[in-house]
Amino acid sequence: MVEALIWLEETRFSTWMRESGPAFFSSLVFHSIGMAFVTGIHVATDLRILGVAPGVPRSLMRRYTPVLWASLVVVTVSGLLLLLAYPAKALTNPVFYFKLVAIAAALRIMRALMRGLLGDSRHDAAPAPRKARILAGVSLALWAAVITSGRFLAYTAEVMLASHLLY
């Protein structure tokens, strides 16, 4: 495991991600912008399900999915680049796995809501059923957890590079 991480962090690309400067900080910038839109669209959709802006037909919140997909591509690519810059820093930290699980759960919930409640405009007239409201609330909590664990990653890392583990 340590050997594999050392191999990865010593590849030319990983070294360039760490040492060029702009490669790392532009990835951080894109990760922040992508995060704002991914979390933002989820939060707005959850708020709508919870009863905010009742004049907006609920199923029409799906019209933002192209923007959501584009933002998901941006966060994923920038996230992978940040991971490549310091693979051991994230992969040795339990907080990183917590973040991934929270993201997977939150995306799963949104998929269920999009296919169910938001998938059929005939549901738009009635208030959201209790189960959908609970899912929307859980979704909000999960995104808050994703943001918090992402931010704490920078403060809870025990190693920056796997090669440091050798000494």
Binding site: F37, L47, V56, T148, Y155
Partner: protein
């Protein structure tokens, strides 16, 4: 200015709270949540004016905007906690100076929007394209808030005295 902010941070105990092991990242997380709320409401409103999700009635979607104002206020409060905890790292930081300028432009843009564009937006029929002055204001708003995120993320790279810019 710096010494005033410093004494606010020190005397209020904010400095001590922020420099506990979890203080700074917790407030940062709140700051990120506030920005998500702002982009998720005001950003989606701007996108609607620019022609995304055109089927959504504009006046109905506008009801999300107060939540974005809430996110903005959360970020003013959390941002204040950062600044009074390390004033010299922010006041002379070109990323902060550009960020505050963009916030000022976004603020002026709000005034322009509600003065010149909101009435025709309210009068527009469902599914309509937003009037041109509303689209212009939406583009300025979206550009400013994205710029604010970019500058906010770059603050740490332009910390004085290890920075450069032509006016510093």
């Amino acid at each position: 200015m710096e010494s005033l902010l410093n004494s606010i941070g020190q005397k209020s105990g904010i400095y001590d709270f922020m420099h506990t092991s979890w203080g700074w990242p917790t407030v940062e997380s709140l700051h990120f949540f506030g920005l998500s709320l702002l982009i998720g409401t005001i950003g989606l409103w701007d996108l609607r004016l620019l022609g995304v999700a055109r089927a959504i009635p504009m006046t109905a979607l506008h009801k999300l905007v107060p939540w974005g104002v809430g996110g903005y206020l959360l970020n003013v409060c959390t941002g204040f906690l950062f600044v009074v905890s390390a004033p010299n790292q922010y006041l002379y930081n070109p990323a902060v100076q550009i960020k505050f300028s963009l916030m000022a432009i976004a603020g002026l843009n709000i005034l322009v929007f509600y003065r010149f564009a909101y009435r025709p937006v309210k009068a527009a029929v469902t599914g309509a394209t937003a009037p041109v002055q509303a689209r212009a204001a939406a583009a300025v708003s979206l550009a400013c808030w994205i710029g604010v995120i970019v500058c906010g993320r770059l603050i740490t790279y332009f910390r004085p005295p290890y920075h450069w810019c032509f006016w510093c």
